[in-house]
Symmetry: C2
Subunit: 216 residues, 2 copies
């Protein structure tokens, strides 16, 4: 590629990066989840990458309309935890939902693995990061293209889980089942954190490899 074009492109990338990283955090929580912070900092310290949104994985209890249980937006979060949960407070939240007895909404338990969106300088850099994600088991990752020739890598894995816990008088669940799904959510969160660590290692190797290949 023409050196002037590359230079212009790189300046534009740096401009977008600076703009993005100086913005207010618009997430529900308003800050980066601690378990994913080292990876976010590692990527943002590299000149060819910056993260636009991340979640380290979470266990949530969501209230959804009765007739549209799969609705993605507008659900009301009763619990939104990025750490393992204890059964007692989890059970109390469910009990208080059940006792409210609102037959128009249902309660769902959801586990979502970590997700990360990373802007990359060019297709080659996006490809390296995507390979690192795939090697660490994030099989649902992929590149999407934005305006201004932007390459975004979405890092996603496949361990999500979604379970109905209450829906008017349609069914009753016993405490043992709730205990089981609580344990299973915690198990998936632990597994998720070990996958995140493995991705962190892969990214470190990838970035080192890029520096070495530039030096030779």
């Amino acid at each position: 590629m023409d050196a002037n074009v590359t230079d212009k492109r790189y300046k534009q990338f740096c401009h977008f990066k600076q703009q993005c990283l100086s913005k207010e955090d618009l997430s529900r929580k308003g800050s980066i989840d601690e378990p994913i912070r080292p990876l976010v900092e590692l990527l943002n310290s590299n000149q060819y990458y910056y993260t636009t949104s991340t979640c380290s994985g979470r266990i949530s209890l969501i209230e959804k309309p009765h007739d549209n249980a799969a609705v993605k937006k507008g659900g009301n979060f009763l619990l939104n935890s990025h750490e393992q949960i204890e059964f007692e407070p989890f059970y109390r939240l469910i009990r208080s939902f059940v006792e409210k007895d609102d037959s128009n909404t249902c309660l769902w338990l959801k586990f979502e693995p970590y997700i990360m969106h990373v802007q990359c300088y060019d297709l080659e850099k996006a490809h390296s990061l995507l390979n690192a994600a795939t090697r660490s088991g994030c099989r649902n990752s992929g590149i999407t293209l934005g305006k201004n020739d932007k390459f975004l890598v979405a890092v996603r894995s496949t361990s999500s889980m979604e379970i109905p816990l209450h829906c008017g008088d349609r069914f009753m669940l016993d405490e043992n089942y709730l205990m089981f799904v609580c344990d299973e959510s915690n198990r998936r969160l632990r597994e998720n954190l070990s996958r995140l660590e493995s991705f962190m290692n892969e990214v470190e190797q990838t970035l080192k490899g890029q520096v070495n290949s530039m030096a030779t």
Copy 2:
């Protein structure tokens, strides 16, 4: 791009396409799911695309080891339906699993939306297809890159569901709950088919647009 390079690249793409489409279908079922067949045929009839694997969406009952419920491979399928299911046979399958009383394995219900992998001639063609997928609500879609400069689009949506139904003596579920999750799986499958139809329309528009832009 140099015309000779483009020509060589196109010949190579056609070679891979022919090779892929003449292969035996290696899926569990051994054939293309009917609801997705028109879309597969539409894409394969276009010179710039070919599908490598597809599933129109499915409801399954999977037996998994007790201590590793999230294992992706090696699960034993008791049910694998690409169509809506009826409660009676679904309930009988679960009952017979419960009566077998094998405390080393657990039974999970899984709903997976349609998925499609499409090889694309170049990044531009991959981008158009990805846009069509995103417009039809498949928010987890993305491009991955293979050897020989291959661009693969994976079309994925987000409506998957995974629910534990039996796990030794850890819990008991009543018939009403099983009826609810059976209904919910069918509801998601219907919604999935309407999303597939919407993707089919988007692909038709995209391919027409490509022909028109070549004509001008």
